[in-house]
């Protein structure tokens, strides 16, 4: 408040200065101006200045009074804006769709109001390189692993009732722009047996999938060239594509309305305490417990340590690096501590094509056995296509520049062979995004790390993280708050399999 009074005193000085222009400089050190050489005619200009300055000073006074009232975020210490809180119960590293989904489900499952303080740390609020928003946005249940099928089914259920889950009072309802067109997988001679097995697994898990022979395929979709196709698998329900940005924003808006803290900053390190114990063979194992998360402010060297109880690593393509900050992966050879989180960013290109004679409204998300995929986008004859490159031809993931040569040489021949209408198509635009690629077995890693006692990992989905994000959020919230999985048993996706070198392979990776 004392600032207000000095402000007022300054106002009084200025008012007097406008009335007594000449002696002001002499009187600047005193609060009262001496009576010498008074000007009797104030003039219109001085009068107007006086009124305007008074109005401005009153406005400033009102503003300062408001900040002094409770409910404002003014503090006598001049702190940087946007610092995270000094203490949080759960810190989620990564503000993508998986991170915000976990935050939402944690808040939804807390039994007491403000029971857990959740902080989501995201380094790029524009999401310029985030996998979530650069994703093609498909959801399917045609996996070979039952856990993946259940995760997708649960997520589709969530999205069907999304307004009941993520609706906020007095805000627009959530519109995911879900297109229910289904996925169509094509299999050659080699893959037909695997496809039939997968079909059985999918049916048992509750997915609505249909197997088609080449003649049935040709009858249903006459614009496909069925040469080389032995069997096709078509999803009838709960499959299609949607807008990932809407889902991310819906999760974010609902989580913020439930009281999740958000911070824009980069996690640069962890401060942890270490506790060594020896095994029966005499090897020393170091168990770590993270005490502080160091969050660096954007464009600054300032680092704020956030004291926390639990850390969730949902950093997507950068999760490997974040795990290394906690010392995961650096340890004596052949020990659990030397196994890193095997997630690295892999660049994938997506091309937007315009084909005026292309397939119509019933176009499914077509995935050929050669790996090329294509789906309709909008109603104007635009399509989105892509291809996962071979292991030895992976593009450099330093930046997100698009290589149009890849389309010309690798993608277009395969696409035009399968869909003859695409022989005359035009590339209108393209973009590139990162897969949070699990180099071990291309499936998500969910669960507690065995050596860092309070770090949960939810990453490595290799291209199907977006479609599984609602169910993954729920699973992780159950793990953290209930101590174990309750609705879906995802223990097969834990970190232990990476140490034991038992891959849980997914055969239907796109």
């Amino acid at each position: 408040m004392w600032k207000t009074w000095t402000g007022l005193a300054g106002a009084v000085q200025r008012v007097r200065a406008s009335l007594h222009p000449i002696p002001y400089r002499l009187a600047s050190t005193f609060l009262c101006a001496p009576h010498s050489a008074r000007c009797f005619s104030t003039g219109r200009a001085a009068c107007k200045d006086f009124i305007q300055e008074l109005e401005q000073q009153l406005k400033a006074f009102r503003h300062k009074a408001l900040t002094a009232m409770p409910g404002s975020d003014w503090s006598p210490q001049n702190t940087t804006a946007g610092l995270p809180p000094e203490r949080a119960d759960i810190v989620i590293v990564g503000g993508g769709v998986v991170g915000w989904s976990i935050a939402y489900w944690l808040k939804r499952k807390e039994r007491v109001r403000d029971g857990v303080r959740v902080l989501v740390v995201e380094k790029d609020p524009t999401y310029s390189q985030a996998s979530t928003v650069l994703s093609v946005g498909g959801i399917r249940q045609q996996f070979s692993l039952p856990e993946n099928i259940h995760l997708s089914l649960a997520s589709a259920d969530f999205m069907r009732n999304i307004n009941e889950h993520l609706g906020v009072l007095n805000e627009d309802p959530v519109d995911l722009q879900f297109t229910h067109s289904g996925y169509l997988f094509l299999a050659s001679e080699k893959g037909a047996a695997v496809m039939e097995e997968n079909y059985r697994t999918q049916r048992d898990a509750g997915a609505k999938v249909l197997l088609l022979s080449p003649t049935q395929l040709k009858e249903k979709f006459p614009w496909i060239n069925t040469e080389g196709v032995k069997l096709a698998s078509y999803g009838l329900e709960n499959e299609g594509w949607f807008d990932p940005w809407s889902l991310l924003n819906a999760f974010r808006r609902k989580a913020l309305s439930m009281g999740v803290y958000q911070c824009v900053g980069e996690v640069t390190g962890f401060r942890y305490s270490s506790h060594s114990m020896s095994t029966t063979d005499g090897d020393m194992v170091a168990f770590k417990r993270i005490k502080y998360v160091n969050v660096r402010m954007p464009n600054s060297l300032e680092v704020q340590p956030v004291e926390c109880a639990i850390v969730v690593n949902a950093a997507g393509a950068q999760s490997g690096k974040v795990a290394q900050l906690a010392g995961i992966g650096s340890g004596p050879e052949d020990s659990l501590a030397s196994v890193p989180v095997p997630v690295e960013p892999r660049k994938r290109y997506v091309y937007v094509l315009n084909c005026p004679d292309g397939p119509g409204l019933d176009t499914p998300f077509l995935i050929d056995y050669s790996g090329v995929y294509c789906r309709r986008e909008g109603l104007g004859g635009n399509y989105i296509a892509g291809l996962s490159p071979e292991e030895n031809e992976e593009p450099d993931s330093g930046d997100l520049e698009v290589n149009y040569g890849f389309f010309q040489e690798n993608l277009w021949p395969l696409l035009a062979r399968r869909l003859p209408a695409f022989e005359c198509c035009k590339v209108t635009s393209a973009w590139a995004g990162y897969y949070d690629y699990n180099t071990f077995d291309q499936n998500g890693i969910l669960g507690l790390h065995p050596l860092v006692n309070n770090m949960y990992i939810a990453t490595g989905f290799s291209g199907h993280g977006l479609q599984q994000s609602p169910a993954v959020g729920r699973a992780l919230a159950e793990l953290i708050l209930d101590g174990g999985f309750r609705t879906l048993d995802l223990s097969a996706l834990g970190f232990e399999r990476i140490f034991y070198k038992e891959p849980v392979l997914e055969r239907n990776i796109v």
Binding site: G71, D73, P85, L169, E171, P173, L236, E237
Partner: protein
């Protein structure tokens, strides 16, 4: 320093104060100011936790009653068979149906009461269903899955019929011939693209679907996919930009 008071931005105009149940207006509707009662309620909700809780409970209660109407009639299924269970379900929703082989419709009267004569016809399946204005939804279709001879389905003005419901209609792909979707405020192109499964469809009514932006274009694309189907209620020019610009060009080129 984190702000202590949570500020909620005031949204655009909507008809009733409930969590995300506002009407699906088209994209270009201008925001209208809320009536005084709604504004007062909004102020109270933003400042008091207990009023916020009461409003969220009332919205939850609305959801619960809608779900109860669409629950699976397992007792009727076990006792009388799937046809009677489906018929009972439709009558409870205040809809009407006509059995295969019979000519009169079975409907509840104005007070919602209906006779249980249809139990005697447990071997006849339902041919036509009129569920206009009812709260039939995706879960309610569990009761109708067994009706594989369903020929006509009228969903005129159903507020709960959305894209997910349409994506499930493939269960009638061998029998459904007439479908009336007019006035369903939640249906959009994403759901209409799932109608290509209905190969036997002959009549489709798509009038007044507020969420479909280009009805004329959608009609053309659907006619390509369902060549034998006659689509009613939509003109080809609907959704196009004003054709006044074309006449201007013609006038200037004539000069």
């Amino acid at each position: 320093m984190v702000p202590t008071m949570r500020m909620w931005p005031v949204g655009l105009g909507w008809t009733c104060l409930s969590i995300a149940r506002r009407s699906w207006s088209s994209v270009s509707s201008p925001p209208s100011p809320l009536p005084l009662r709604s504004r007062m309620l909004l102020f109270l909700v933003q400042h008091f936790h207990d009023i916020e809780a009461i409003v969220s409970w009332s919205s939850w209660l609305g959801n619960w009653t809608r779900q109860r109407k669409n629950v699976y009639y397992s007792y009727a299924q076990k006792q009388f068979g799937s046809n009677v269970a489906a018929a009972f379900y439709i009558l409870n929703l205040k809809g009407g149906f006509r059995l295969a082989g019979q000519s009169d419709w079975v409907r509840p009267n104005a007070k919602g009461k209906f006779s249980l004569d249809f139990i005697n016809f447990s071997d006849l399946s339902i041919e036509e269903v009129d569920a206009s204005g009812t709260v039939i939804n995706y879960m309610g279709l569990n009761n109708l899955v067994s009706q594989q001879k369903l020929r006509c389905l009228s969903l005129r003005g159903c507020p709960e019929v959305d894209d997910w419901f349409l994506s499930r209609l493939h269960i009638f792909k061998d029998s459904l011939e007439e479908l009336d979707l007019s006035g369903c405020s939640r249906v959009s192109v994403g759901g209409l693209s799932a109608l290509h499964h209905l190969r036997k469809l002959r009549k489709l009514d798509l009038s007044s679907l507020p969420r479909v932006q280009n009805p004329g274009l959608v009609r053309i694309l659907l006619e390509e996919v369902l060549p034998h189907c006659h689509i009613m209620g939509v003109e080809y020019q609907e959704g196009l930009q004003s054709s006044g610009a074309e006449t201007d060009i013609k006038a200037t080129s004539g000069l």
